[in-house]
């Protein structure tokens, strides 16, 4: 059976269809507004708490060191790290500890590991992160002196 609607009836029907959607949209927008304000409050609180933590425990929560320029910088290879580790296992250092400049001057070490002198410090830092080495002390001029973890 064919149904014929007048223009008025069609407009009314359309209005009936859109009304609940418009209401839903308003509810959503109101909820977004509410959560946006809540988010703003949370962000402000986070900033305040982070600031306090940075003062109380700067080692962990202080400003992150600016990333150093890596362009053109040499990067240590996993092979070099492995070689340094093996050499240190086979040639346990004496009580003085291990530091990059000392290893760099050691001909046997250089020949065995075939490491580029510019990345020895990086290799030691990696082995420190792997817990193979422990940072024992800071030397004069800020050099890091490590020991093999027993």
């Amino acid at each position: 059976m064919d149904q014929h609607y007048s223009t008025e009836a069609l407009e009314r029907r359309l209005a009936e269809l859109t009304e609940p959607l418009v209401t839903e949209l308003r509810t959503i927008e109101s909820a977004i507004g509410f959560h946006a304000s809540e988010l703003e409050t949370l962000r402000a609180t986070r900033q305040r708490v982070t600031g306090v933590l940075a003062k109380l425990d700067p080692d962990l929560y202080g400003p992150k060191p600016k990333p150093k320029k890596t362009e053109g910088k040499q990067t240590v290879t996993p092979e070099e790290i492995k070689n340094v580790r093996t050499w240190l296992e086979e040639n346990p250092p004496n009580g003085d500890g291990i530091w990059a400049a000392k290893l760099s001057e050691n001909r046997e070490f250089r020949e065995y590991t075939r490491i580029r002198s510019g990345v020895i410090m990086q290799a030691l830092a990696e082995l420190h992160e792997q817990s193979f080495l422990t940072l024992d002390r800071m030397g004069r001029g800020g050099s890091r002196i490590y020991k093999v973890v027993a």
């Binding site: 962990l60 060191p65 817990s131 024992d136 002390r137 002196i145």
Partner: protein
């Protein structure tokens, strides 16, 4: 002081035995670390890694801290971990995070701090 991991300081305490913070700062290579080290030890104390005798004012490892320091790494396990493809490390991480949630609070804190230390570079 930020170059030192918690574990580094704990190993020093294990080696040195009960020690005043000033001496520990000197052991770390510079007296000027003093105030930083004091704050750091304060946090580590709060997390249960180290303790300070109120009478002698000497710092030492707690029993739980001692267990962490004495835990020997199993070489075979470390080799296995190294050999794992990166994708499989995700499952290892899931196991670690489960321990983080369910394990003892001090170990959980150490895991969190190790993660922060290792990922801040």
């Amino acid at each position: 002081m930020r170059e030192f991991r918690d574990l580094d300081l704990m190993l020093k305490l294990k080696e040195a035995g009960p020690i005043p913070s000033k001496e520990l700062a000197a052991e770390c290579g510079a007296d000027e670390f003093g105030s930083h080290l004091g704050r750091r030890l304060g946090w580590m104390h709060r997390y249960g890694m180290v303790e300070r005798d109120p009478k002698t004012k000497l710092w030492s490892l707690t029993e739980a801290g001692g267990r962490v320091v004495w835990a020997k790494k199993r070489a075979a396990l470390m080799d296995e971990l190294e050999a794992l493809p990166a994708e499989e490390l995700i499952e290892v991480m899931a196991a670690i995070t489960a321990r983080y949630r369910l394990g003892d609070p001090m170990t959980a804190v150490m895991l969190r701090r190790e993660f922060i230390f290792g990922t801040r570079r």
